[in-house]
Structures are given as structure tokens and as C-alpha cells.
């Protein structure tokens, strides 16, 4: 089918069509991986604000025992000298931990739904970096440094693998529950010094891709004839100018846009989902509604070949009254996230999709002030990975007896990024982009994949 025929016949509602040859302009570095990938795509569930490790995935009975006491000197001297690292008044977790699944991995009763999948989760309890502030910390979590000027892990992934669907953006980010002061950091889906086509597209899960809907008074036939005239005039212009790859790419971008007008609304239209699915995600109940829709959309996106999906669920910043805060946040997110894991399995996507969960840092095992909350702490915190070749039911790394500082197998955000890339078949140290005369890599200060994650 040539381009003209395509424009004349595809119309709307045709859905995603694989017309890859038309779309080289939006492709990345290439699809040559460094080694056999264990995942084709990634869903990054980012818990903004910083969930507390000792209340979720890192049980510390000593906290119960020494509640109210100060951090003992032996541990205190290992805590990095950064502000916020409170050393007084240890606070017991308001939640008890239980062993789940065959693996018997311990999870807080705060997250009962996620806990059902524990045999599929690889929990890293020894994440560590040095930035205790949300904004830069979020940049660290997504780009490796706090400055916010380097490419995000999603952009690197896309640069490494290219797009798998030519009718949808290949890297989509959804930011939900961003109330309060939890502003998302655009660097988290930015392209940094990579070409901007590798940037994530920010999408409101309730609205979808912006401007895909045609104005109400425009009919499909009108739009088709408009696009024909645009192409006709653009081609004459191109002919007058001669060789110009950018002008050619612009002409092609109208074809992609035309397809996206059909594909994107279809993606966001949940009417073809069963009631059972809606119930699974909690789409029709108050606390889970937003995150549920976000997680379901994440599944629909990866199903349609979106390479990298980011879902940022904000609000975990439990400075005061962690019991109330984390109860609310778990209420919002636990069920939808568990549903996503179940659903990916049901759809046969789990094995080829890497799902990761975590925040920009964890929280102190001590109480902040007198408010029964915890302050920020990047010295040792937990994340998990699942699907896409991940060996579930295992724990990697360890923090001290209070859950303050990673003591065994510390994992930096760069290591974490290298791990994600590893699952995609990419070697972080060989994925290079020349910028300012340097061969830039995703792990600028060093970092290597945590290979134990994979079976």
C-alpha cells in the first residue's frame, strides 16, 4: 500500500497498523541488542514521595524493641552525614509483617494485595544514594544524577531499542495523585542530551494523548482532504528545496499523526474491558479509581507495543502520621498494582514485561519531630522488580538491624538502571551517545546490572 492509498483507505478506527517503513524518523538507535533480552518493555511504577522501607518490604523487629530510643552509636556512625538523618527516637512500624507465598518472603500487612504476588517479586532491600530531597532525588531515581539534565532511563531504553508501535508514542508517562507539593520532575521522562524524539509523552490517564481528537466541526473526509493537500503542497516545496531529510520527516510525521488519531483514542477507550477486569483494578471504587485506570492503561499500552510506561503515583511523603499516610497510599495503589501483575499474567504479557516499583528514596527508622512520621532517607531503601526474566521470591541486599543504611550488596540508582537495561538486552556501558565530545552512557558515574535479579 503506498502512502496515498494509505491516506485514502485507512480512515479512522482502523487501529494500529504496522507500517514501520514509513516511520524510520521516529526510530531510535536500532533494535540490535547487546545480548538476549528477557523483557521487551518496561512498566515503572514510581511511588513518589518515598515509601518507607521498614513499613513495606524491609521488616525490622529491632525497631519494635528499641522504639523510643536513639539510634545506637554503632549504626549512627554509618549514617551518611546529611541533614534529615535523624538519629533520635526510633519508631516501630505500625504494621506487622507476614511471610507470604512459597518463598516465605516477608511483606508488611500494609500491602496485602501485592503480597499475593510475592513469589514473582525480586525485592532489593539495599538501594542507596545520597540525595535526600524530593526533586533532585526523583531526578536521581530516573536519570542517575540530581541535576535533572541527563536522559531518563525511559529515554535511554527507547534510544537503545526504538519503537515497536508506529501509531503511539513509544514512551508514555502518567503522573497521578500529584496534589500538594509533589510536582513531577519533567527530567523523569526527559531526553536530556538525547534527541527529543526519545522523550516520554506525558499523558493524563483521564484525557489521553493531547489533541488527538479532531475539532467537533471537522469531518473525517475533511481531514483526509486537508492532509492530502498538505502533503501535495509540502512535496512541491520539498522538490523546490531539494534534498532535506528534515522536511521529509515532517511530511511523514503527518501520516503518523493521522494514525495516532485513531490509535490513541482506542487505547484510552476502556469500553472493551470486562467488568471483571474493571473490578480487578478497582476502577469503580473511590480510592483505587485513578491508580486503577493508570495501571490498566499501562497494561493496554504495553499490549500495544509501547516500549516504556511510567506511572508516577504521588503522595508517599509521610513526614507526619505515617500510619494515616501510608494507609491512604496503600489504599490507592496496592490493589491496582496487584491487579496489573495478575492481568499481565492473564494476558500472557508478564514474562516479556519488566515491572519495577519504588520511590526516590526511603524513610528514616526514626520519628521526625513528634509527629509520628518519618523523614526522607536515601541511605537504604527497598524496590522490587517482577516479570521480564526476573527471578521472583528472592531478596537482594540488606540494611542494618534498624533498616537505616544498606549494609550488604548496596545498589545505586545507576545499578538499578543498568539492571532495567539488562533486561532489555542492553549493556549500560556499551549504550553510548556522543555529546559534547564524550561518549555518554546511562551510568555516568559507573554502575552495573544486578544480575542476581534474573534467573
Amino acid at each position: 500500500m503506498d502512502r496515498r492509498t494509505f491516506l485514502q483507505h485507512s480512515g479512522f478506527g482502523a487501529g494500529a497498523m504496522a507500517l514501520q517503513s514509513l516511520l524510520r524518523a521516529e526510530d531510535g538507535h536500532g533494535t540490535l541488542t547487546h545480548f538476549t533480552p528477557t523483557a521487551d518493555r518496561v512498566i515503572f511504577l514510581f511511588m513518589s514521595g518515598g515509601p518507607s522501607q521498614v513499613d513495606t518490604f524491609d521488616p525490622k523487629p529491632d525497631l519494635q524493641r528499641f522504639s523510643g530510643e536513639d539510634v545506637p552509636e554503632s549504626i549512627a556512625q554509618t549514617v551518611p552525614q546529611i541533614k534529615r538523618a535523624g538519629l533520635k527516637n526510633l519508631m516501630a512500624s505500625p504494621w506487622s509483617f507476614q511471610r507470604y507465598g512459597e518463598s516465605g518472603l516477608e511483606v508488611s500487612e500494609l500491602l496485602p494485595e501485592t503480597a499475593r504476588h510475592v513469589d514473582d517479586l525480586c525485592v532489593i532491600r539495599s538501594m542507596q544514594h545520597r540525595n535526600p530531597v524530593h526533586g533532585p532525588g526523583e531526578c536521581v531515581a530516573f536519570t542517575g544524577t540530581g541535576a535533572g539534565n541527563r536522559p531518563s532511563i525511559g529515554a535511554w531504553s527507547l534510544y537503545g531499542l526504538g519503537s515497536a508501535n508506529q501509531s503511539l508514542p513509544a514512551f508514555i508517562t502518567m503522573n497521578v495523585h500529584t496534589d500538594g507539593m509533589q510536582y513531577p520532575q519533567a527530567a523523569g521522562w526527559g531526553a536530556g542530551f538525547l534527541p527529543s524524539r526519545f522523550q516520554g509523552t506525558e499523558v493524563d490517564p483521564r484525557v489521553g494523548v493531547r489533541h488527538v481528537a479532531m475539532p467537533q466541526n471537522t469531518r473525517h473526509e475533511d481531514r483526509r482532504s486537508q492532509l492530502e493537500l498538505i502533503e501535495w503542497l509540502n512535496r512541491r516545496h520539498l522538490a523546490s528545496v531539494g534534498e532535506h531529510s528534515e522536511l521529509e520527516a515532517r511530511i511523514r510525521s503527518y501520516e503518523t499523526a493521522f494514525r495516532m488519531q485513531a490509535a490513541a483514542p482506542e487505547l484510552f477507550d476502556l469500553s472493551d474491558e470486562t467488568q471483571a477486569t474493571r473490578d480487578l483494578y478497582g476502577l469503580d471504587t473511590a480510592p483505587t479509581k485513578v491508580a486503577g485506570r493508570t495501571c490498566l492503561l499501562a497494561r493496554r499500552m504495553v499490549q500495544r507495543g509501547v516500549r516504556f510506561v511510567q506511572a508516577r503515583i504521588g503522595g508517599w511523603d509521610a513526614h507526619g502520621n505515617i500510619r494515616a499516610n501510608h494507609t491512604r497510599m496503600a489504599g490507592i495503589s496496592d490493589r491496582p498494582i496487584a491487579a496489573l501483575l495478575s492481568d499481565l499474567k492473564q494476558q500472557g504479557l508478564f514474562e516479556s514485561t519488566l515491572v519495577v516499583w519504588g520511590g526516590e528514596f526511603g524513610r528514616t527508622p526514626t520519628m521526625e519531630g513528634r509527629g509520628n512520621g518519618r523523614d526522607h532517607s536515601p541511605a537504604g531503601y527497598s524496590v522490587w522488580l517482577a516479570g521480564g526474566g526476573v527471578k521472583g521470591g528472592q531478596v537482594i541486599g540488606q540494611t542494618d538491624s534498624l533498616g537505616y543504611v544498606a549494609t550488604h550488596r548496596p545498589v545505586s540508582p545507576h545499578d538499578f538502571h543498568a539492571t532495567i537495561l539488562h533486561a532489555l538486552g542492553l549493556d549500560a556501558n556499551r549504550l553510548t551517545y556522543r555529546h559534547h565530545g564524550r561518549e555518554e552512557v546511562p551510568t555516568v558515574f559507573g554502575g552495573s546490572a544486578v544480575k542476581e535479579v534474573f534467573s
Binding site: A25, E26, I82, R84, G86, K88, P132, V133, G135, P136, E138, G148, N149, P169, M181, Y183, Q185, A186, G190, S196, R197, V209, R210, H211, V212, A213, M214, P215, T218, D222, R223, S225, Q226, L229, I230, L233, N234, R236, H237, L238, S240, V241, G242, E243, E246, L247, A249, R250, I251, S253, Y254, A257, F258, M260, Q261, G369, R370, H436, G437, R438
Partner: protein, 1016 residues
């Protein structure tokens, strides 16, 4: 009369809760503790007494103090409001005007208000035909204030009655009054009077009305209080001294037991330096330079030092020196010497092992010599010397330049390039529209005067260049280019991303500077050191360049917070002005360029004493400092009170209090006063600028910028913080102290700089600096042609690209300097050249020789920037609101705004969609060159967004107004959007389209075209 010496304090304390008056008629027992049955009145206000006139002398409201007062100073406050209905003006005739006073006396004077003459009183009397507030003992001992009383407005009156000698039997001989006072106004009452007599004891106070106070008059009185101090009467919290600036902790002094030369150097020399010295040191590890040794150690911590772990290692693969036949491991004594040396802070002998000065033979760092303008074969083509340099490259490569562009193409190109707006249709000359045919290239050019079509086109274009360079729109477009470099934005960035409501003044400063062709050296000086220059608002505003750094309001560690800002400032200064990337040198000596880690922190030292803030303009305005100081005193006092109360509740140290909690903890009167101060400060004209502490001569006031953890305030006279080398870029690894200096490769920096940043700016723009002029003319070239003569316009270092026309670059740099750093002079040389005026005509022959058009054999069509795309849309639709300058369009109004894009609010992370969709920079780091991305979200925006529908509809209306038939409408739309006529094929095709579709639909097509979005 018994008078306790402790009387005034007792008043202060005992009356604290019940210093209120009683209404007339309430019996008051004369006993020391008194007034058990009085009212309590809320300090928040609310309760009011209503007084009515009687047309005669009357004491309608009076009350006894708990004890007679004989202390040195008595303050009384009351609020009153005179009902407008009863207030008559003295000008209304005989007997008109009003009378209402507060008196203070030893006796109550009865209902008939029979006080002795000379009793101090304060209130409304008639003077100069006005009802004025005044103070009075006697007619001969009185003073009127400037305050004229108007009806229905509440006045807060504070009175001070004082004794010039604090003795019980001395009279209260000084009387002063303030109206709506602010905390700092103690020394400037609205009126004051002295008396020779006066009363010695105050026991009663009350209000009196008189003959002029008619029965129809109503006066509301409230909030009557007494106190013994100014702060107390105003409800100000007691003062505290604020926390001192948290300077980076200086390394503790140590007693050195190790001498480098005698103890350490021999070990290094015998065991290390054979491999680890010089530029080619083994594994890049040098131990012959202090700054390099720092990379191998933890400061003053031998145990944590890499160097020690290597020499102590038992692992053969790690051990240093490496085990081998000819090498012996260090003795434990030698290792201990090294450890002590590290723990004692690395003594060094600079004479023995001097810090290496980086050297380079890289072209960009060499002095600029003025090149000869070449003589070329195609001399007829040379309009300005620019063409001669370009023609020589043509000649060398074998390419032939494209012909002169058609006049309309050229006019449109010039207009978009210079102003970012399409040429106003009305400014096009009618005879020019006919000159569609490009002239033959062989005739094209030559500076000779003639009547050929080519000459006419050039003549027209030259005039147009002058006209456009003189326009406001020029400043708006070229100023925006500079804002990219300055990573300018109107919010702090990072997570809280607070707005900077005064940042727009810098944007206007930049626009103005371009428009006026401010000499570039002056422009740099003002931006780097405006606060060190003689005071002028413009100079302060210019420092917005430095202040545009991001600023984390959620960073509790002020050392990190400050360092992040300084890093941003240094990197931006290096990138924008010098075209070098300094980022690497923050952590280690630059691997490619002659820049050491010491150079980096020496550059940082220029900026260390300063920080961004809301600088208050118009210094001559009175009270600026006082308002701000009063505001901070209140803030600090409540802050201290709250911290103390939290401490008492057992909060662990450090007890943290955020500003929001401070506001919340203010009591009623405090909050009201605080809000008044905030309002006053908000009214002051301000700019987001940069100020330094001790060495800033400008005496600039800085208004608060509220954040969760704002930077500590700079205080006059405080010692400026010192600058330390940060080992491996880690703020917490403090290395040796460094002094301000430019990179050593450029020569020595004088010691003891009086105005350091002025010196820095002067060095940057000295004619001997090889980078600044080259970098600036290259940027101008890039913005005119899309690509610079040096493609990496932000990196002139060894990793950057080589110049395509090195002599042209240097020649332009010389022209810049010799013209007095005139940007427009360089632009004229470019804009008048045949190089710039070529058509975009393709040539397969040229393409084969130079496919990337590096030699500029044609005009390279390129997409407009985001601003120009949106502005052009508005302009062709006739919607553009060309209002220039002022506060930015708020975000909520951005989608519907019709002002130029430069005036849309630039909030980091929340930039307007119309900008980010077309690659506007993120305003996070200096942007030397924008990308051009081509993604399908752009067509979606251009086809479907409400903005585009509005533009298409407005354009259609504009077309309809001038054209009726389909053919006419097609022609008109082409003219308006593309500045050209359609050719017959286009006309036919477009007319056919119009037969089946609306004109709106056709207009939408036209404003989606590549030709429309590109300069051609």
C-alpha cells in the same frame, strides 16, 4: 502618693490581659488589683464602643488604670472610626469641623470633662480648615499632624507620654502620636509636642467630645490598650538574634607534626613518582600535584583514604607500590607518616611540587589576530567582507553560490530572522511584489550602484534590514536567544518550583539591551557585576542572569543548596560567555581542556559571597530597609518562640520550623501587623537578582522569597563565606581554600580584587580574551544561519567542532571588538552579505561536493523556533497583541493570550505547550543551540489544538474581508501566509479544494505547511 519603683514593669505584666477600659458608669473600686468586673476584649478586635456627640463638653468613655502610673514612658493605643454621616468639614462654615480627643490625667474629670488646662490630649482638632489629628497640652504647646480625618475609615492611634527625666515627680512633658504605625517608625511620630508643666501621674484616661461633636455624630472606638514599651503596644514579639549564616565549616586547625619536604616527599619520590607523575602518569593517577593527590584521599581521614588502602593492601593485584623484584612495599613507619600527613590536612610544598598550570595549543585558546580579507575570483559576488571569506571556501571546494533569493522570499526571511514576525503586509512595497523572477546569478551583486533588478532588491533589502534592526520586535526575538543562554525562567525549579514574580524585569532588560545595541562588553559587565557598579535599577536587574539559577526550596542542607546554585552559575557563565563546558572540572581536572579542578573552584569563588533574591529597586525610596527589617524581626521572634515551644515539648534536635508554621503561630495582633508589612513590601518594585554580602557597595535591600527552607539571609558586614575546593565535586569533601581567579591557562589573576565580579567581567571582555568575542560572533552566525561557523557553539574546547571558516570567525570577532562590541554591526555585515541573501535553490553539483552545505552555497531552509511559529500564527491571523514588556502573561491565560511568546510565563517544568512542542529549552541549563525535533505530536497540535482553530478562523475572516471569489481567496491566503503568489498548479488545486471545503479548512492547511513553518 506612693509610687513603687517597679511600677512600669508591673503595669506591663499585670495589665497584660486586662488592660481594658470600662464603660462609663461601671463603679471602680480603688484597690491595687482592680477592675475585676471589666470586660476582656479580644486582641483580634471585634468589640467596639459607640460614642455619640452631645453638642457640648462630655467625657463619654473613661477608665482608671489599675494603679497610678509615674514611670518614664506610657504608651496608649486606640482605634477609632468617625461615621462619615456625622463628620462635617470645617470648610462647611462657622462652627463646623469636629472635636474628639483621648486625654490622660490624674483625675477623671467627670462627665463634664473638666480637666485642667495643660492635660495631654490627642485627637481631632480643626486646623487650616481641616479636621486633623494632633497632639496638645495647650494651644501654645501643640502640633498638628498631616493626617486629615475622613469618615468611615479606621485609624490606629498610638500615643506615647514620656518624661524627659524619669523621676516620679517630674511631669510627663513629652507627648507623641503615631497613626497606623509600623514597627520601625518609633523615631518618626506623626506629631509631637513638649510642655513645661504637664501632669506627673496618670491615673485616668478617657475620651472627650465637645461643642463641635453634634448629637448626630457617631464615633466607634476599639482596641484600647496601654503598655510601657513600643514593641508591646504594637503587639510585636520580642526580638531575637537570628541564626548566623551557615558558612561551610572551615576545616579545624591542626598542629602539623609532619613536614612535607622532609618526611613525605622522600617517600613519594622513592616509591611513587617514578610512575605517578606528569601528564602521562600511570592510570592517570598523579601524586606530584596537590589537587591530584586530593583525589586519592579522604580529607583528613587517612583510614578512609584510597591511597592508604592501596599501600596497606595485602592483595597483590591492588597493592601499591606493585610488588616486584625491584620494588619494596612501604614500611609501616612510612605508611604511618603518610597517614599522619593525611590526617593533618596534607601539608604541601608548592615550590617543590607546584600546581601544574594547564597549557594548550588548541586554536580557540590562542590570541585573535585580524585576518586579511581575501581577494577572490568571484569578486562581483562580494557585498560585505563576509562574502569574500565565504567565496574563498566556495572557490576551494568548487561550489557555485545560489542566486539571489526572490525579493519576497528574502523579505520574509529577513523579517522572520530579525524580528521573529512575518513582514507586515502594509510594509511591503508594491513594485517589489512584481519582482518575482530571481535575477540571473551572474548579475547578482556587486556593491556598484545601479538600476538592475538585483540592485533594486538589495537596496530594498538594505533598507528593510535597517528598519527591522530598529524595531522593538528585534529586541524581543534576539533577547529570547540570549534568554536561552541565560537558562532564564520565572520559577525556582526543582520540586516546589516556587514562582519568581519579579523575574520578568530581567527579560525586559535583555530585550531593551538588544534593541539599544548595548555594547556586548557592557552587557556582560552588568549581568555579572551589576550590584558592584554604581547604583542603578538597570544594573541590579541585569544580575538576573546570575540569579536565574535553579534554587531548591526544599533543601534543608544550606551548604548543598548554595553549592547547587554556585555550580549552576559557574557552568552557565562558562558555557554562555566563554563557550566552554566546565561541568567536568567540578569533579576532576578536565580530561580534554586545559581546565583544572582548582580553576573550577577559583571561578566559583567569584560568586560564593552572593546569592539570588528579590532585590528592591528604587533605592531612594524611604523605609525600604526598615520595612523588611521589621518584617524579619517579627518573623525571627515568632520563629524562635515556636522553636522554643517545640523544644520544650521534647522535639529532637535540631528543632526545625518551616515558615508556614511561623505564619500559623502568629497571634492576632502580630499577624495583622505582619500582614501590613508584607503588603507594604509587596508594593515595592523588585527584581529577581543577585546580591553579595559584605563587599556589595550597593546597599540593596532584599525582600523575602518564601520557601520551605530559604537560604540564610545575607547580613551587612558579615564576613563573606570562603570557597573551598570540593574533592571529586562532593560538597562534603572539603579541600583547600581557594581565592577568586580565572582559569590559569589564561594567565594570572590579580590578588585582592576590590570588586571581584567586575574584574571577572572585565577579564571576560578584554580584547585579549580569545574566547568571548569568537563565541559571541559565532552565536550570532548560528542564529542567522542555523549552524555556527563552529557547529558546537557551546563548546569551543578540544572536543568541540573545528570552525568551518576560521578566518571569517576571527575577522568577525575583530569587527565586534573594534566596533565597540556592537552586536548590530556584526549583524549588518551578515545581513547585507550575498551569503545571507542566497536563494535556497538546490544544485546536484554543489550537493555532490558539499552535501551538508558547510560552505554555504545556498540558503539552508530551517524550521522556525517555537516562539516564531506561534507569533507568526498570531500575526497572519491578525490576532497579535504587540504590547511590549511588563509582567508575564499568567499561566491560566496563556492558552488564550495573543501576546508574543516571549511574554508567556516561563515556569520551569510547566512551560507552555505551544513552546515545548517545538523544542523550546527547558530553562534548566544554558542552551546554546535548540534542537529541531520532528514528532507526530506536532502535527496533532497544529491540526487539532484549539489555538490553531482560532488562528485558522481568524485568518479566514481576514481573507474573507479582502477577497470574495475562491481564486481571490486562494491568492490572498498565499500572500498572507507565504508572502508569495500561488503558481497556476497550486491555484488550481487550492481552488478545487475550496470548492469542497471551508475557507477555515484551507487556512488550517496553509498554516500547517512546511513552507510556512520554515524560513526559505
Amino acid at each position: 502618693m506612693p509610687t513603687a519603683p517597679t511600677f512600669p514593669p508591673r503595669i506591663a505584666s499585670r495589665t497584660a490581659l486586662t488592660w481594658l477600659l470600662l464603660c462609663v458608669g461601671v463603679a471602680v473600686a480603688d484597690e491595687p488589683l482592680g477592675l475585676a468586673d471589666g470586660w476582656k476584649m479580644s486582641a483580634l478586635g471585634g468589640a467596639r464602643f459607640s460614642i455619640r456627640g452631645t453638642g457640648d463638653r462630655n467625657n463619654p468613655l473613661r477608665r482608671q488604670l489599675r494603679e497610678p502610673f509615674q514611670g518614664a514612658e506610657l504608651f496608649v493605643q486606640f482605634r477609632f472610626q468617625y461615621a462619615a454621616a456625622g463628620l462635617d468639614e470645617p470648610s462647611e462654615g462657622e462652627g463646623a469641623g469636629e472635636f474628639f480627643v483621648l486625654w490622660m490625667d490624674a483625675v477623671d474629670g467627670g462627665d463634664q470633662a473638666s480637666h485642667h488646662g495643660g492635660v495631654p490630649n490627642v485627637g481631632i482638632h480643626v486646623a487650616d480648615g481641616k479636621n486633623r489629628l494632633m497632639v496638645r497640652y495647650l494651644a501654645s504647646e501643640q502640633q498638628f499632624s498631616n493626617v486629615e480625618v475622613v469618615g468611615d475609615r479606621e485609624y490606629q492611634v498610638v500615643v506615647r507620654l514620656a518624661k524627659s527625666q524619669p523621676a516620679d515627680d517630674h511631669a510627663f512633658d513629652r507627648l507623641a502620636m503615631w497613626v497606623d504605625p509600623l514597627p520601625h517608625q518609633l523615631a518618626s511620630p506623626a506629631a509631637e509636642a513638649t510642655s513645661k508643666r504637664g501632669v506627673t501621674t496618670i491615673r485616668w484616661l478617657g475620651f472627650a467630645t465637645g461643642k463641635k461633636t453634634e448629637k448626630t455624630d457617631t464615633i466607634h472606638v476599639s482596641d484600647v490598650r496601654v503598655a510601657t514599651t513600643w514593641r508591646e503596644i504594637l503587639g510585636l514579639p520580642s526580638t531575637v538574634s537570628p541564626d548566623p549564616l551557615q558558612a561551610p565549616p572551615a576545616p579545624p586547625p591542626v598542629v602539623r607534626t609532619i613536614d612535607f619536604t622532609t618526611h613525605v616527599y622522600p617517600i613519594l619520590k622513592d616509591h611513587c613518582l617514578a610512575c605517578h607523575a606528569g601528564a602521562d602518569a600511570e592510570s592517570g593517577v598523579r601524586l606530584d600535584a596537590l589537587d591530584e593527590v586530593l583525589n586519592q584521599v579522604a580529607p583528613r581521614d587517612a583510614k578512609a583514604s584510597h591511597l592508604i588502602s592501596l599501600v596497606r593492601s595485602q592483595d597483590e593485584r591492588q597493592q601499591m607500590p606493585p610488588p616486584g623484584a625491584d620494588r619494596t612495599p612501604l614500611s609501616s613507619e612510612q605508611i604511618e607518616t603518610l597517614e599522619t600527613w593525611i590526617d593533618e590536612g596534607l601539608a604541601w610544598d608548592e615550590r617543590l611540587l607546584p600546581t601544574p598550570i594547564p597549557r594548550t595549543d588548541h586554536w580557540a585558546f590562542q590570541p585573535i589576530a585580524r585576518p586579511q580579507v581575501p581577494v577572490v575570483k568571484n569578486s562581483a559576488w562580494v557585498r560585505t567582507p563576509v562574502d569574500a571569506f565565504v567565496a574563498r571556501q566556495h572557490q576551494r571546494t568548487g561550489v557555485t553560490p545560489a542566486p539571489l533569493a526572490p525579493v519576497n522570499t528574502l523579505s520574509r526571511r529577513l523579517a522572520l530572522d530579525i524580528t521573529g514576525l512575518p513582514l507586515d503586509q502594509s510594509r511591503r512595497l508594491p513594485e517589489m511584489i512584481d519582482a518575482e523572477e530571481p535575477p540571473d546569478s551572474e548579475d547578482a551583486g556587486g556593491p556598484s550602484v545601479g538600476d538592475s533588478p538585483t540592485d533594486k532588491i538589495h537596496e530594498h533589502a538594505d533598507a528593510l534590514v535597517e528598519q527591522l534592526l530598529g524595531s522593538v520586535a528585534y529586541g524581543e526575538r534576539w533577547g529570547r536567544h540570549w534568554l536561552d543562554l541565560a537558562r532564564w525562567a520565572e520559577s525556582n525549579g526543582y520540586q516546589h518550583n516556587r514562582s519568581r514574580p519579579h523575574a520578568w524585569r530581567y527579560r525586559d532588560y535583555v530585550v531593551r539591551s538588544f534593541q539599544q545595541d548595548k555594547p556586548f562588553d557592557r552587557f556582560v559587565l552588568e549581568q555579572l557585576a551589576g550590584d558592584e557598579l554604581p547604583y542603578a535599577d538597570e544594573h541590579l536587574i541585569a544580575t538576573g542572569f546570575l540569579a536565574a539559577a535553579r534554587y531548591s526550596g526544599n533543601e534543608l542542607d544550606h551548604e548543598i543548596q548554595r553549592n547547587d546554585i554556585l555550580v549552576d552559575v559557574v557552568n552557565t557563565t562558562g558555557q554562555a560567555l566563554l563557550g566552554i563546558t566546565l561541568e567536568c572540572a567540578q569533579c576532576h581536572t578536565h580530561k580534554f581542556d586545559p581546565l583544572s579542578i582548582r580553576d573550577y573552584y577559583r571561578l566559583q569563588a567569584f560568586f560564593t559571597p552572593g546569592q539570588p533574591g528579590n532585590v528592591v529597586l528604587q533605592r531612594e525610596t524611604a523605609d525600604t530597609h526598615e520595612f523588611i527589617e521589621s518584617r524579619w524581626q517579627m518573623f525571627d521572634a515568632v520563629h524562635a518562640r515556636l522553636a522554643a515551644s517545640r523544644r520544650a515539648k521534647g522535639y529532637p534536635e535540631p528543632v526545625l520550623v518551616i515558615p508556614k508554621s511561623v505564619f500559623g503561630a502568629m497571634k492576632g495582633a502580630e499577624r495583622a501587623m505582619f500582614q501590613r508589612l508584607e503588603d507594604e513590601i509587596a508594593r515595592m518594585p523588585q527584581a529577581w537578582g543577585w546580591t553579595a554580602s559584605a563587599n556589595s557597595p550597593s546597599g540593596v535591600a532584599v525582600a523575602p522569597h518564601e520557601m520551605r527552607w530559604p537560604l540564610p539571609r545575607l547580613r551587612p558586614g558579615q564576613a563573606p563565606p570562603k570557597t573551598y575546593l570540593r574533592i571529586r565535586g562532593d560538597v562534603k569533601s572539603v579541600g583547600p581554600e581557594v581565592q577568586p581567579g580565572w582559569p590559569a591557562v589564561f594567565g594570572e589573576t590579580p590578588n585582592q580584587l576590590d570588586k571581584p565580579r567586575t574584574a571577572l567581567a572585565r577579564w571576560i571582555t578584554t580584547a585579549e580574551n580569545p574566547l568571548t568575542a569568537r563565541v559571541w560572533v559565532n552565536r550570532l552566525w548560528q542564529w542567522h544561519f542555523g549552524t555556527g561557523l563552529v557547529e558546537t557553539s557551546g563548546d569551543f574546547g578540544t572536543q568541540g567542532a573545528s570552525p568551518s571558516h576560521p578566518e571569517l570567525l576571527d575577522w568577525l570577532a575583530c569587527e565586534l571588538i573594534e566596533s565597540g562590541w556592537s552586536t548590530k554591526h556584526v549583524q549588518r555585515l551578515i545581513l547585507r552579505s550575498n551569503t545571507f541573501r542566497q536563494a535556497s535553490t538546490f544544485s546536484p553539483e554543489n550537493h555532490a561536493l558539499d552535501p551538508d552545505n558547510k560552505t554555504l552555497w545556498r540558503w539552508q531552509p530551517r524550521r522556525l523556533e517555537a516562539e516564531a511559529i506561534r507569533d507568526q500564527m498570531l500575526a497572519v491571523a491578525g490576532l497579535l497583541d504587540a504590547t511590549s514588556g511588563g509582567p508575564s502573561v499568567p499561566q491560566s491565560q496563556t492558552p488564550s493570550s495573543q501576546r508574543r511568546s516571549i511574554y508567556l510565563r516561563q515556569e520551569r517544568d510547566r512551560l507552555p505547550e505551544s513552546m515545548t512542542a517545538f523544542d523550546s529549552p527547558a530553562a534548566v541549563a544554558s542552551c546554546s543551540r535548540r534542537r529541531v525535533s520532528t514528532v507526530s505530536l506536532q502535527p496533532l497540535y497544529l491540526l487539532n489544538s484549539p489555538f490553531m482553530q482560532t488562528v485558522a478562523a481568524a485568518l479566514a475572516k481576514r481573507v474573507r474581508d479582502v477577497a470574495t471569489s475562491s481564486t481571490e481567496q486562494v491568492v490572498a491566503t498565499f500572500e498572507i501566509t507565504l508572502s508569495r503568489m500561488p503558481d497556476p498548479d497550486e491555484l488550481a488545486r487550492a481552488t478545487q479544494f475550496l470548492n469542497d471545503n471551508s475557507l477555515d479548512a484551507f487556512c488550517l492547511v496553509m498554516i500547517n505547511l512546511n513552507e510556512f513553518l520554515y524560513t526559505n
